[in-house]
Subunit: 421 residues, 2 copies
């Protein structure tokens, strides 16, 4: 099964937006066993889109495009593709009614130009878009003039806005694919996610032992991010479930508690899950991470049941007023110190009557460093039903990376305490 | 100038990571006038990488690849490309010394396999990577066997980790490009960013008036995100500066204070800039946005000078204890109410002695909605040296989009107060 993804949008080529479709669609498709083999992005330029679609139709069983279905003059995809595969466009009464209703229900007048979104290539399936005006479209190109022996390809056009594309894909495209393009082979993919260990070390620990399985068809991959390394174990064929399970057993034996989660699971989800299971609560006292930890945790549905408060105490006054950090500590050791981190964590835990409290104080940069406390210096405190722990780390990265890495380290400090006591 | 970008990594094709390189590199290259015409991502598979590089060399003056230069077995790019363009690899003494020093300075043993990163194709320029072990590589493919008449192409290989790639690009690749691939034409690009107005409405207001400029060569584009629409005005050629300036004048006249910033400027940067200029301070009281606003603001260097504290008061107790929200208010109106938003903002402003305070309380979902207050309901309060304002919005999106859109609305409420009084 050859699957290609085409993202259109001049804003992509000019770096105006992040291409979140690539990750989201590739991830969902891989889960379903349709691994994308090539992803291409081109500008909203007729020639570039046409070339990309023609090339993809020449190679792939499934081609998915995103974007270019909107109402504005740079939305070209629908028109272009209809012409490319030789289909006439007609106004679809159902789509037009949906567009009218969409604006009515929002008490907004329907801009005349949105009417163009009701134009559908003949023979195309309309994929309803409850969250927007442009529907998705699906069509089987058969015979396919761009492929040897005219082999058929499925072509699926999706709207650009993520909040429209995502439910449309999950609710409509996924079931359609299983029906019209069933997979020949079993596909199994397992990802184990680790914290606090480098990519080279991960490979040295598991590479040798996994070598025989790789010979037997295991696809072994590593993905390193600041502070994290994912180990991906995949295989395709009959009975590959056992191969991947054996590989997982080896990786778990070697990496143990460095593994914090599987698949897409994020550290913040693990924390919320563990706290929810234990019916325990958490308070946060952040300084240099500036709300990054609180923001990550509150992305997880259900966080409100276990997270009592996150106090981002940027100023010394706020550290004193809301957390009870002592003036002498700030004067004697500074706000970036082991003592301050300890008092922040204990203050947050005590005042919120939480089971645990995490604190972070450090120097995110780019300015504010000193010879004894350079940019990247950070103290992470954890207060709980045990002696307060303080970790002293050095994360000499740019400001945003510093915040993210430090947030992950703080969450991992709590995770280890929760799973190991 | 034809410029193509190739991102390699199986993790990209499986949706394990977000391709941030595409946005970052496309943005930086566009700023320099080297607009990327096509971006491709393929897995860490020899055949796929080779095909992508060969095709790009067949079309482009400049081909940039990312990833595949690491020390692990799925890092294939360096080897493959050397073979493709017929260059032998040799161990570079300078790079090897850098790798040894890199590990020494971190008090870590050098894993033997990192030595492979010192292998450099003959004739290639080594682009020093101070933040990692794998250097970037640049080479002129001349004659280029994949291009008609053997026209030369520049091929630049960059390491995958963003914190290595970004400084390497800015410090080394950007100056190199200006030297080896100078631009023939002037290129001007201006982006105006708007809040709180739909894409269709933006186009209806400015499309007609800009039509003559589009005929004269203006490239007009729109980029819509939840709550925001960017208007991009670009042109290439001699004297295009005037064309783009005239277009900007028209857009500003039509959209006025809906325009919050230009180019890459984010709303949070505008807020920090305005507060810094006015020497005024801000406190935040967040509930349903869960630290998203505080986290955005603290991404901006210098935020600590104007942001006093961000209190994420998820629980009712925290709203009472840290912000002084009255128990009767919570009992009578609920935590999601105009009265609660008002007291949160006024409480944060008073307790922190800030010039302004923003508050947010609402229902992010997916659960917690009621018929009278469905998921998406939100109250945004702004306290300042004027009567407290409360905005009642409805943002019926998924949890993360809800947080982001609401955060933008809150920041824009403050922005309008700062610029209009």
């Amino acid at each position: 099964m050859v699957v290609e993804l085409i993202n259109t949008g001049s804003e992509l080529m000019l770096g105006r937006v992040l291409n979140t479709h690539q990750q989201w669609l590739c991830g969902r498709l891989a889960d379903l066993g349709y691994v994308v083999t090539r992803q291409v992005a081109v500008a909203d330029a007729a020639q570039d889109i046409e070339t990309a679609v023609r090339e993809a139709l020449g190679r792939a069983d499934l081609v998915i495009t995103t974007g270019g279905l909107g109402p504005t003059s740079d939305d070209l995809t629908g028109d272009l593709i209809a012409r490319l595969v030789g289909r006439k466009l007609h106004e679809d009464a159902g789509v037009l009614a949906h567009i009218k209703k969409f604006f009515e229900s929002r008490n907004r007048p329907m801009p005349e130009r949105t009417r163009v979104q009701a134009m559908v290539p003949e023979g195309a399936l309309v994929l309803a878009n409850p969250h927007g005006t442009a529907p998705g479209l699906a069509m089987e190109v058969r015979p396919n003039p761009f492929r040897s022996e005219g082999r058929a390809s499925w072509l699926i056009l999706l709207p650009g806005p993520p909040r429209e594309l995502r439910p449309l894909f999950s609710e409509t495209v996924a079931p359609l694919l299983k029906r019209v393009l069933p997979l020949a082979d079993e596909f199994v993919c397992r990802t184990l996610r680790t914290m606090g260990i480098g990519e080279s070390v991960v490979q040295e620990r598991i590479g040798g032992q996994l070598a025989p399985l790789v010979k037997a068809g295991l696809d072994l991959g590593y993905c390193a991010r600041p502070g994290q390394v994912d180990v991906r174990l995949a295989a395709r064929g009959i009975g590959v479930e056992n191969l991947v399970q054996e590989a997982e057993r080896i990786v778990r034996a070697q990496l143990g508690s460095r593994i914090f989660g599987v698949e897409d699971e994020e550290l913040e989800e693990v924390i919320i899950r563990l706290l929810t299971e234990r019916k325990e609560t958490l308070a946060l006292a952040e300084s240099c991470t500036g709300g990054c930890i609180t923001n990550l945790l509150t992305n997880v549905p259900g966080a409100s049941a276990v997270l009592l408060a996150g106090l981002v105490t940027y100023s010394n006054e706020a550290k004193q007023k809301f957390l009870g950090v002592r003036a002498e500590t700030l004067a004697g050791h500074g706000a970036v110190s082991e003592a301050a981190a300890r008092q922040m964590a204990e203050g947050a835990r005590g005042r919120m009557e939480a089971n645990y409290a995490l604190s972070v104080t450090g120097i995110a940069g780019p300015s504010g460093g000193t010879p004894s406390k350079p940019v990247g210096t950070v103290f992470i405190g954890l207060a709980g039903p045990f002696a307060t722990r303080v970790e002293h780390n050095f994360n000499p990265y740019d400001r945003e990376t510093f915040k993210q890495v430090t947030a992950q380290q703080a969450l991992d400090l709590l995770r280890k305490a929760l799973v190991q006591g």
